[in-house]
């Protein structure tokens, strides 16, 4: 391979060196476009550039052009209006499509070595507070990463074309799909290919290829793919989140090779790699240590000089330097490689007037998603009663949608009277997740029960999230009469030792609706001679319903 250092990419045009395809671009074309862009940026005095380009080839031009012009580059995570607004004061111009570059092209600047220490790139990630965090890197840090990757796997990849399923706005995609192949002289595919079928079609175009993918894709590759053809893949990289062991094993079965997992983040840069169920092997430039809680601390040439990055990942470091990860020490979760701060979403949810308290957790089912435990405010309960559960949850989802991407929106909602805090006033995360997995309640919550002269008075709370409310009725949930009778019967059995089984009902009266969150009083009396259970529900002074349940001997 014809390796070039990152800082030397714009020194001279190389006709024989291919960068990308569809449409083709060789290094000489990249070189010229970059220098022309650099001239335009300088002429307009643009020094701070925000770049969001889906085409990795155009992105390469933008990055090199900006650096040649001495402009810093910010890669925002998305182009949502809030994101644009947030960064507006920090940038002079945005490059989001080819036309934006073309509008800037002028007679090219002269070729030059890029200054590794003055050239800047900033990445965006969600910090632990949930506020998007900007991470500034020098070109030197990036160049060090690229060199390490080529030293490890260059000989192995040879001239493989790089095909990626991940975005280039983040560190992993940027390094693996753009900067590394640019320096190594490997061809890369312009587009992010999010579906396995697209990956396969692209792979068929090249005699040698490698994948830059993520668990979201790798754990969802089906039998419809031509695995014998795909097993020519030179290497499968995975990063962004943990690849489940089963997914790695299934790839091994189909491709006869283990995927190569990369551990790292925008903040830390690359930390380590592994294949299969091995411990993590730190990259050669990385020095690991741990704080008192056992969380990893990272120092490396991929970080600013002298900086030690504290992570929240608990780890066990083996004598040979390799290590195992033991889980997060904070409430940041990853869903499909997206980092999500639960406290931030909880705060955002709390700003809605319908929410009194809330806790979020991860629901592990087909795909992992978020679920929310919510204690409604009075206004929230009013909304539930008069507009129904679906409107309530949709409204809360929409409210949250202003604060996070769609993927982080809770898919499961559980409405509670109060959060079941433990004796220390805490609600452990495992308990949150158990509550989210549990089915919605079918029975009332018994608050108090007293007996006088054979008659029981039972104080009941009607759970706001009773399973019967969804269909009865979607927009004005009320407690079905048949459920009231069933509750009376069930409680009667518990309290009065009823002989026999349900045989029918008499003089049923329904006078007032019972709704989510109501506290009601149930009176129960059993007439043994007539074998009839008398029941009456009251809400304050108002009678809700009453009737008699007729019983017959257990075995007729």
């Amino acid at each position: 391979m014809n390796g070039l250092k990152l800082e030397h990419l714009l020194l001279e045009p190389l006709q024989q060196r291919w960068v990308t395809t569809e449409p083709d671009m060789n290094h000489a074309q990249l070189w010229e476009a970059s220098l022309r862009l650099a001239a335009g940026l300088q002429a307009r005095g643009i020094q701070r550039l925000a770049v969001y380009l889906e085409d990795a080839g155009v992105l390469a031009i933008a990055l090199l052009g900006a650096w040649r012009a001495g402009a810093s580059v910010l890669l925002p995570a998305d182009l949502q209006p809030q994101t644009r607004q947030r960064w507006a004061p920090a940038v002079d111009a945005w490059l989001t499509e080819v036309a934006d570059l073309e509008a800037l092209y002028q007679a090219p600047l002269s070729p030059a070595v890029l200054d590794l220490d003055s050239c800047q790139l900033s990445l965006c990630t969600s910090g632990s507070s949930g506020e998007p965090k900007r991470i500034d890197k020098s070109l030197r840090q990036l160049a060090n990463e690229v060199q390490a990757l080529e030293a490890l796997w260059g000989a192995d990849l040879k001239d493989a074309c790089i095909i990626g399923s991940v975005a280039t706005q983040h560190i992993y995609g940027l390094l693996f799909r753009v900067l590394w192949p640019l320096c190594a002289g490997r061809l890369f595919v312009r587009k992010q290919l999010a579906f396995p079928e697209d990956m396969q079609r692209a792979s068929r175009e090249y005699p040698r290829f490698a994948w830059v993918a993520s668990p979201a894709l790798l754990k969802r590759m089906g039998d419809n793919l031509d695995w014998p053809a795909l097993s020519r893949v030179a290497r499968v990289f995975s990063s962004g989140g943990a690849l489940p062991v089963e997914a790695a094993g299934s790839l091994y079965d189909r491709l006869q090779q283990w995927p190569t997992e990369i551990l790292g983040s925008s903040e830390t840069g690359g930390i380590a790699w592994r294949q299969g169920a091995q411990p993590w092997q730190p990259f050669a430039d990385v020095q690991l240590s741990q704080d008192a809680d056992g969380a990893l601390r990272i120092a490396s040439k991929y970080l600013p000089e002298g900086h030690v990055e504290q992570t929240a990942d608990a780890a066990r470091i083996h004598a040979d330097g390799r290590f195992e990860l033991l889980g997060r020490l904070d409430r940041i979760v990853k869903l499909e490689e997206k980092r999500i701060s639960l406290p931030m979403l909880e705060q955002a949810l709390m700003t809605h007037s319908w929410v009194a308290e809330t806790r979020l957790g991860v629901v592990q089912e087909n795909r992992a998603s978020l679920g929310a435990l919510v204690v409604l405010s009075a206004a929230g309960l009013h909304a539930l009663r008069n507009q129904g559960r679906r409107t309530l949850t949709q409204t809360l989802r929409q409210h949250l949608g202003q604060h996070c991407e769609a993927l982080a929106l809770p898919r499961r909602w559980r409405l509670l009277r109060q959060l079941p805090l433990n004796s220390q006033g805490k609600l452990p995360q495992a308990e949150v997740e158990a509550l989210l997995l549990a089915p919605r309640p079918k029975a009332p919550q018994v608050l108090e029960q007293v007996e006088a002269d054979g008659e029981w008075t039972v104080q009941l709370s009607v759970p706001p999230d009773l399973t019967y409310f969804s269909g009865h009725f979607p927009v004005t949930p009320v407690l079905p009469g048949v459920v009231q009778v069933e509750w009376a019967f069930n409680l009667g059995q518990q309290l009065l030792d009823l002989p026999g089984t349900f045989a029918g009902m008499e003089v049923l009266k329904f006078q007032q609706l019972v709704r989510p969150g109501d506290q009601i009083e149930l009176h129960l009396r059993f007439d043994r001679e007539r074998r009839k259970l008398y029941f009456a529900y009251r809400n304050g002074v108002a009678a809700c319903s009453s009737g008699r349940i007729v019983l017959e001997a257990a075995h007729a």
Partner: protein, 89 residues
Amino acid sequence: MSNQKSLEHEIKELIIEALGLEDISADDIGSDQTLFGEGLGLDSVDALELGLAIQKTYGIKIDADAKDTRNHFTNVASLAAFVTARQAA
């Protein structure tokens, strides 16, 4: 219900089941409603999940070499047409 309509209904149930959607019933999903992005609000991971669920449920294979196979996933009607065509094939 015609065959087409009952298949569409079945696919709606499959979407709700496979993607774990709450507070939504098959009747709430329009056959021509866009599934991904705006519309029903599903994302690319849902698209991957649904691709697997459809193949498994109907014993069909998405032709990985055909271009634009994902166009079949635009809405329930296009998915039903796709399932019917693949089952006949």
